[in-house]
Symmetry: D3
Subunit: 143 residues, 6 copies
Amino acid sequence: MCGGVTVSGTGKAGARSEPIEYAEASAEVRAVYDDIMATRKTDWINNYWKVLAHHPPTLRRMWANATEVMGPGALDPLTKELIYMAVSVTNGCKYCIASHGAAARNKGMTPEQHAELVAIIGLANETNRHAVALDLQIDEQFL
Amino acid sequence: MCGGVTVSGTGKAGARSEPIEYAEASAEVRAVYDDIMATRKTDWINNYWKVLAHHPPTLRRMWANATEVMGPGALDPLTKELIYMAVSVTNGCKYCIASHGAAARNKGMTPEQHAELVAIIGLANETNRHAVALDLQIDEQFL
Amino acid sequence: MCGGVTVSGTGKAGARSEPIEYAEASAEVRAVYDDIMATRKTDWINNYWKVLAHHPPTLRRMWANATEVMGPGALDPLTKELIYMAVSVTNGCKYCIASHGAAARNKGMTPEQHAELVAIIGLANETNRHAVALDLQIDEQFL
Amino acid sequence: MCGGVTVSGTGKAGARSEPIEYAEASAEVRAVYDDIMATRKTDWINNYWKVLAHHPPTLRRMWANATEVMGPGALDPLTKELIYMAVSVTNGCKYCIASHGAAARNKGMTPEQHAELVAIIGLANETNRHAVALDLQIDEQFL
Amino acid sequence: MCGGVTVSGTGKAGARSEPIEYAEASAEVRAVYDDIMATRKTDWINNYWKVLAHHPPTLRRMWANATEVMGPGALDPLTKELIYMAVSVTNGCKYCIASHGAAARNKGMTPEQHAELVAIIGLANETNRHAVALDLQIDEQFL
Amino acid sequence: MCGGVTVSGTGKAGARSEPIEYAEASAEVRAVYDDIMATRKTDWINNYWKVLAHHPPTLRRMWANATEVMGPGALDPLTKELIYMAVSVTNGCKYCIASHGAAARNKGMTPEQHAELVAIIGLANETNRHAVALDLQIDEQFL
């Protein structure tokens, strides 16, 4: 108990935590799960949310962030997923690559688009290091 | 001289190298510069290429890579730049953020799209670390 | 204009944006600025918020996140700043090192504590690579 | 043999090396193992040290570093582990997260503290990228 | 089909793709495979190429890059592999560490050299963060 | 004062610290400076050491690490510097690129070797992301 927050769990805070299933979830957690499923028009929840659920304020906060940032806006939904993938691949996050790869495919990413995405990510990681290694001065045309 | 390759320069290989301007460039380098300007329909060359020019084989190779990867394909030109930006921001490459930010604006990126890009990059970098910290198991639905 | 959001600015979305000062800020932005100054018991706002202000929804969202995550909880305020510093140094973010370094000093970080922080960050970055290079198997005692 | 150093092993230098158990260890390696167990008041050694033991000078050197950096000082032992975790999560080192997560729990990290640690690590990784993407100028108040 | 490129595959673009074996490969892909085997004087192809083969232009392009960059030049073949390893360990790429570790051993890397490589990678990752944390000014002697 | 350690400085622990010059250094610090200059056969000290000097135990410890890791061994001095550069470029550490670039040139790195180093660093950063994006399975020949 701290600051009014209840953390469920096994005391093994640093090891892999079990996902909290709907049946065992508190009302607070279920409310977020319900919103996730309604928003996504689906009947299941992926592990990211079910593990965050051990700390309900973080579950709530992150769902609010995800809805706002990944929701409708000036960039189309597939482009948003491709940007997410670019970051996740650069950071080497396997879970995020799997989950956002699935999301991108659901939003229409074709194998050809995926191949181009991977090629661009690779190229950018390469030229980023060229620019750093050579200590390039930013052209005034870019300022 | 090595392997048939001439490297121009000052011997200060690790420090910032001066860009090689068109007027002082070899025929081999000028051929690439000409192709860059023709392809981009512009009359100037940015520092990335002018510094790579100290090692002509790398200049040629990287220009060929850039043309192939960033050229017409299954992803539209602006989306390609946004992916490039996502990688460059994640890696903290100031030169690349400046140059590809300019390219993205030239291809129509609006301030609103830029703001969403930055928000997604931030969110992905955040959730990538949540996924790693919590050692999330990949849902079978994503496999 | 997109999704009801107004982005102020110059059209130079990828280049350095000018901070938005209180005097020129919209009512929506001023409301966040007021809350920042009240919460921090100070009369100035640092550039992070003044530049985020070009996209008010992000300004509001990030201030809400920062207040919740960095506010009172199970970890004391100085420890929170040291964790923030550890991430920022590992990522090489100069702005964040400067701003959270200042915050840490305001919360009592001594030069000796700072020196130990830097030493731990360095050591962890070193042993992280040893672990990866040697493909260490996780001891069952840690599971 | 090189520079007076004997490297035990199978010749498979880049692949996963077997941990060297106490029974098979040289006197030089046993001396470090003994010190690790005495310092930690435990009767086992984790794989990091048992794999480093293939190169005794590195084993000795890293144990000396770890003792000095992670030993008693101006920061309390739990805070030191949290800083270590922040780096290891940011770098995505699974072994280090597991081992230092266990160490943190041994030193009293509660599930609530762990949840806050993860939240801060995520937030810092997010804002680090905002700062870079927006090319924030460091406020003079931070200098 | 896009831009004249055929992408083979299962439509599961983001999930692990099956390697394309020689027997099932197109003539275009076989031509690259043949060149890889001839250049390396071997009769097998590793998964990197067999998975890139789903997008033949990328397969061709990357093999051309690898041959040019890793081929004979001013640095000897083993040194080139050690540099590759240093990057791969720093980025935490397990596949690359395994494949280039094998390549380095084939080119004569001894266990002692491997141990020194790992030690240098660790030390550089450590001091890189010291330099950033302390915001070191570059000595004029280095300019 | 903590644990017998004196930290000199201004109380601005997170901001850029002034280098400590020989004339103002304590006997403990001077002893390390003397050893650095004797080992390197030079009469000046670079900023890394002069800033670490604010925390003498870290100065002593890091100098001992550097001497052991970068000193004579199974890898030649120039190769060691190239590995250091590969890490520093990948991490984007400008100070380290400048200082180890200078060291590499002092140890004979030619402009051609530098160009190849930069090309390999770029390529490895590129293929690292391909391997991660495609979730490559490690070939059994590499195990």
